[in-house]
Symmetry: C2
Subunit: 352 residues, 2 copies
């Protein structure tokens, strides 16, 4: 791939190249029609849908913390930066609308890499019906930083908060958990093997057998499919997206709702590839689900009769426990029947 130094075209040249990609976004009719102006002004301007409330969220990705450019393409980064925000919108039972993107980039990043980033971001936006309408692109002395902000909309009556859980409700998750961390572990292992290899020219990373986990890490899918069911057809309690690991998210829901919870380890959905990877690393696969992150699945609570209705609409949800009274605490029942407190122990920035 040709690699053009950003300095040869400058900030405004770069903005022109980015604009070309953004202008090609198809966007759905209502999104386009309601946008009065996008990136060509000081701020984007759009008409909000009548009678809806607005959602507003942001997520950042920092090189060396959230991603490693030796095994993450800019296209994947563009996808993931958008998807992380779409997932926040899904967790409120809303739909995404417009996004702004901040990129802070050191000299080593080429124009083509940035174009790849935008191709990935636009790909995700087209898939999940939102439009990129603005941003800020700056230089950086050291590592790359990506920050996306997104607006969405929802019917006020359909919004679900973290504080909406009630004792007696089931606790459920969409999809399966732990694969994102499992995929990351493989990527890191192969990078290390490469670094230690004596003949780096001949080195071939061993990734194929682990593809589903690696894909889950690099190209996660937000669960707008399931949140759409919640908005239209089934009534749920609290919702949160699993970005910091199951243990951490359950604690968020319980702390916000003033409840306890009991989770059954043997019910936590962990797929075969994650189990295989965990066993290669001699680690308990449930830990990947409890303390991994960046899954972008939904964790939610739901009454029994509503669950019965949900079951008929999707088979991609799993009951993992029950909401309890606050006094009972947040408890994990291990496969051997032993109980222990389930502490928030997911990905925590600034841990010592």
């Amino acid at each position: 791939m040709k690699q053009t130094d950003i300095s040869t075209i400058g900030e405004f040249g770069l903005i022109d190249r980015i604009s070309k990609i953004i202008d090609e976004q198809a966007g759905s009719q209502p999104l386009r029609q309601n946008l009065l102006i996008g990136i060509a002004d000081d701020a984007a301007v759009y008409k909000p849908a009548a009678g809806k409330v607005q959602l507003f969220t942001t997520d950042a990705f920092v090189e060396g913390i959230h991603f490693d450019l030796t095994y993450t393409s800019f296209k994947h980064l563009g996808w993931k930066a958008i998807v992380a925000n779409v997932s926040d919108i899904a967790a409120m039972c809303g739909v995404p609308r417009y996004a702004t993107i901040v990129l802070s980039l050191p000299k080593k990043i080429s124009v083509e890499m940035i174009e790849e980033f935008y191709h990935g971001a636009v790909f995700a936006c087209e898939k999940y019906s939102c439009l990129i309408v603005g941003g800020d692109t700056t230089s950086s002395l050291a590592n790359s930083m990506i920050s996306v902000a997104m607006t969405g909309e929802a019917d006020e009556s359909k919004i679900k908060f973290r504080k909406n859980a009630s004792p007696g409700e089931y606790i459920c998750v969409t999809g399966h958990l732990g694969a994102s961390l499992a995929g990351l572990k493989i990527l890191k292992r192969e990078k290390e093997r490469f670094a230690l290899s004596t003949e780096q020219q001949l080195f071939k990373p061993n990734l194929e057998p682990y593809t589903p986990a690696i894909e889950k890490h690099l190209m996660p899918k937000p669960r707008l499919d399931i949140s759409g069911i919640f908005a239209e057809r089934v009534n749920v309690g609290a919702i949160i997206d699993v970005s910091d690991g199951l243990a951490s998210e359950i604690n968020h829901i319980c702390n916000n709702s003033g409840t306890g919870a009991v989770i059954h380890e043997h019910n936590i959905p962990v797929d075969t590839i994650t189990q295989k990877i965990a066993s290669e690393f001699n680690e308990p696969p449930t830990d990947y689900a409890l303390y991994g992150g960046e899954e972008y699945e939904l964790l939610f609570t739901i009454k029994d009769d509503e669950y019965a209705r949900l079951e008929k609409l999707t088979n991609d949800v799993t009951i993992i426990g029950r909401v309890t009274e606050k006094e009972k605490g947040i408890v994990l029942i291990r496969e051997n029947g032993e109980q222990e407190p389930l502490k928030a122990g997911g990905w925590n920035h600034f841990k010592s």
Copy 2:
């Protein structure tokens, strides 16, 4: 000042400390009433004002590029990060509503510094009537990065675009220009003097005589006062805020509007302190106005009769030129009468 390592309280401890400051934001009644949920969920949720359009913008500040922590306090950074976005909203003739803040911070940054940042951000939000409703706080391996996104609202009929300039209109600016760069030059000079000083313990930077310029750099004021007049009482053509230097912004307006422009150097408002500083550095003061940045004044075009009306409402605007036909190009008339093309030469990231 006590300096607590972020690692001693962790990400969630830090979020608690930040939440306390954010929860103390007074916010105006409508802002509070229309906010269904702020930072305590996956996304903020608010009711948009009926009949208005939504504005959406973002701006980033990177350590080593936009700021230097040796002479910039975190409180000033918080102020400035909010104000840069408020200024974008003002440039559309809207009012700010809600903001999200992303902070990526290396280990050297203490909990108290982050609290100072939020105090500065909240201070600006209270002053300009917006509310912080969300964010993301992550670690960083090297430099600090700040990214703010902001929504605003406006009457659709009052929105002013960069493309709205017409030949024959006056070109005007609010306030005066160049002081932000002048203040920065003093801060940099004193830092250098400190570095070279043989008795650093006794070093006293010489800043007091330059206070107005330093304040303009560290604590700029967005021009919501003037954009409010535009929205309510006087009809203008195009507006843009001066964040990259006058030359660059004039080029933006002309390129977007398909016009030319003629600017008279001797009409560009440069205040006494900026002239004094420029003369200390043996540099032409107009260059500070043309190629400096981070002023957050408004550059706008306006018909003669509307200007006559504006003059009665404020004395803080100056006519600096006229919009012309595209064929005439973008021209600067120097004080000696000579003409030259006025090229965009403001702050350009990624310049070689």
